[in-house]
């Protein structure tokens, strides 16, 4: 009995031995990365159709970089994402600070509404926005995609910002105001610098979601406007897929670099904070 007890505590306390959970985790990591590995592997395959290896080739990459439609879609997507994230960063930060500062009737409702887009299915939001735009006879365009993306971008930005505000020392701002700073100055000079990491991480998340959104964009896009997800979807549907493999590798590499960069920035700022 005593031995088994000692054994158990050793296992929990000491250096973890490869238990079955560890092997399972390895397996699940494999599951998560399998599709990505498949995309990367076949982006170098000569044949567009066969799942067998038919020879090494860079042709899908060169084709991808000469594919005007994909590049146009990429530019449309970037415009939408940058536009909506910028608007959301501005209004979302103001809103999060406002919600933290002021107590007023309906504040709880307001706060819940902000997070609604994360909960309601995208398809319902997409449909509702289309109906609304039709009711207002607003012609669909690139701008309507931006307007509808701002809704969920606001949620991500304000989520990140208000989490950060809650962990901040509110006395700092009060002290600044006691020393003669106007509320605006104290906001700009004291609060905002502390919020930047949160704003950036919120924006990054919003940016990725905007770049990845298919449903809302396809409902609110005007004719002739194609975001990247819309173009990918239409290519999958019409089987014109060979350079999709190359596209995915390019996207995966850039977005992984983005994530690593963001994580790096986060750690840097954390390290700075802990030093202070």
């Amino acid at each position: 009995m005593v031995i088994s007890k000692a054994n158990l505590s050793l296992r929990l306390k000491g250096i973890p031995q490869p238990v079955w959970q560890a092997w399972w985790t390895v397996l699940m990591f494999g599951f998560m990365y399998l599709p990505i590995a498949v995309l990367a592997f076949y982006s170098f395959n000569e044949s567009a159709i066969s799942a067998k290896w038919t020879g090494f080739s860079f042709k899908w990459y060169s084709r991808f970089f000469h594919d005007e439609r994909i590049l146009q879609a990429l530019s449309d997507s970037l415009q939408v994402a940058l536009g909506s994230v910028t608007i959301a960063a501005f209004f979302g930060t103001l809103m999060a600070v406002g919600l933290a500062r002021y107590r007023f009737w309906g504040r709880d409702i307001y706060q819940n509404v902000v997070y609604l887009p994360l909960i309601i299915p995208d398809i319902s939001i997409a449909v509702a926005t289309l109906v609304f735009l039709a009711a207002m006879t607003v012609p669909l365009s690139l701008g309507t995609i931006v307007a509808s993306h701002v809704v969920f971008c606001l949620a991500y930005v304000s989520l990140a910002v208000s989490t950060r505000i809650n962990s901040l020392d509110s006395h700092l701002e009060e002290a600044a105001q006691d020393l003669g700073a106007t509320p605006f100055e104290s906001f700009r000079l004291v609060l905002l610098p502390q919020l930047y990491p949160a704003i950036i991480s919120g924006c990054l998340l919003a940016f990725v979601c905007s770049m990845d959104d298919f449903l809302i964009a396809s409902f609110t896009a005007g004719g002739g406007i194609n975001t990247l997800p819309m173009e990918i979807y239409s290519r999958i549907r019409t089987n014109l897929t060979p350079d999709l493999n190359a596209l995915s590798v390019v996207l995966i590499v850039t977005s992984s670099l983005g994530v690593l960069l963001a994580e790096f920035i986060r750690r840097q700022s954390q390290a700075k904070r802990s030093r202070v």
């Binding site: 039709a134 009711a135 309507t144 004719g223 002739g224 549907r237 089987n239």
Partner: protein
């Protein structure tokens, strides 16, 4: 971004305020219920638009995508052409009605669908003074159902609907539609049907020896019931999503258009195309100009360009479509002129039937059966 985009139009501002108020007063649902109705916006014709005069937006089928043609057209006219794809006439109309239509200056509906678009008040009448080369068309395309003397459109391509199959997997060959039903176990998830209500219901009607344009309730019901037998065995309803799958062997047989088949057969000697007995549809796709077209000048230029015999011939060659342009046919290479997929024999043509527009009631029935079939 145009800030005015987000402002309600003056006409609807009052309604907007009313709605905003009712929404603000906590779910004004009851108020809306009792209040008078408002109009769900629609594409208004002649609406102001933001499109540049150097751009031409086409709304077309995936198989008509011809980047070379777009480049040539740009070189000749200086117009940049942007194409957008649809895979069934009905979906095209749904997108137009949802407000996505303001940018398009040329649409490519099927012949039978034009009357419906006319009735929905979406098409502009063609100004014949601005169209050159109508005389090049085959006579049967000068006078078709619903569009007598090309008042609204100009044909782009025509063909038949049939089955494209892999000869290696189906060595015995396919002759009639009933083959699909008789071999449904063998073909489970190895066949696709078009994503098109008229074509799919039409093939079932034809296999029962009825007309493609059947309006008889009992016969339609029979066709629908026949299709429900096939439904669990098909891989998908798709207009374009079968091409590479047929080549890779994922699929053995696909329902498709002859215009798809010509090119595929040339690339892949394993494939065969058949217009199944007892008959199939003979279709044609037309270029039309919507009323809300932002750039009708460019649209006329486009149509005139494609009516030129040499251009029509080069398009027919590149896309392997069948051209309705009689003057273009002699310019085609011999092998294409004698291609029986492209230009079917008299015997095959005799069993084909053209689709016509349906009555409203019949259309509702087709809609209902198609919705049930695809859900």
């Amino acid at each position: 971004m145009d800030p005015e985009l987000f402002l309600p139009k003056p006409r609807s501002r009052r309604q907007f305020l009313k709605m905003a108020a009712s929404g603000a007063f906590g779910l004004g649902l009851s108020q809306m219920l009792s209040g008078c109705g408002w109009q769900l916006g629609n594409v208004r014709s002649g609406q102001s638009n933001t499109s540049s005069p150097n751009e031409l937006f086409l709304y077309t089928w995936a198989q008509y995508v011809d980047e070379e043609l777009l480049k040539d057209f740009r070189r000749v006219t200086g117009l940049r052409t942007i194409r957008e794809l649809f895979d069934s006439n009905e979906k095209m109309m749904a997108a137009l009605q949802a407000g996505k239509g303001q940018t398009f200056s040329v649409l490519y509906p099927s012949e039978y669908f034009i009357p419906k678009l006319i009735k929905a008040n979406l098409l502009a009448e063609l100004d014949h003074d601005r169209v050159q080369g109508l005389d090049n068309l085959m006579p049967q395309f000068r006078r078709s159902a619903g569009d007598w003397d090309n008042h609204y459109g100009v044909p782009f391509a025509w063909g038949t609907t049939g089955l494209i199959y892999n000869q290696e997997k189906i060595p015995e060959g396919i002759e009639d539609w009933d083959y699909l039903w008789k071999n449904k176990e063998k073909l489970t998830r190895k066949m696709t049907l078009l994503d098109d209500s008229r074509e799919v219901l039409g093939c079932a009607l034809k296999s029962l020896n009825y007309s493609l344009n059947e309006v008889n309730t009992d016969r339609l019901k029979k066709a629908y019931e026949k299709l429900t037998i096939l439904k669990p065995h098909i891989a998908s309803f798709t207009t374009d999503g079968w091409r590479t799958q047929l080549a890779s062997g994922d699929l053995w047989v696909a329902m498709g258009y002859s215009s798809d088949a010509i090119g595929l057969l040339k690339e892949n000697p394993k494939l065969r195309y058949v217009v199944p007995k007892p008959g199939a549809s003979r279709w044609s796709d037309w270029m039309v100009i919507p009323k809300a077209a932002p750039n009708p000048n460019a649209a006329y230029q486009w149509i005139n360009y494609l009516l030129k015999p040499d251009i029509a011939a080069s398009v027919a060659q590149r896309l392997a479509v069948t051209t309705p342009n009689a003057s273009a046919i002699p310019l085609l290479p011999q092998e294409l002129q004698h291609n029986t997929v492209s230009y079917p024999t008299v015997e095959v043509m005799a069993r084909c039937e053209s689709m016509t527009a349906l009555t409203d009631e019949a259309e509702k029935l087709y809609d209902k059966y198609w919705t049930q079939l695809t859900s």
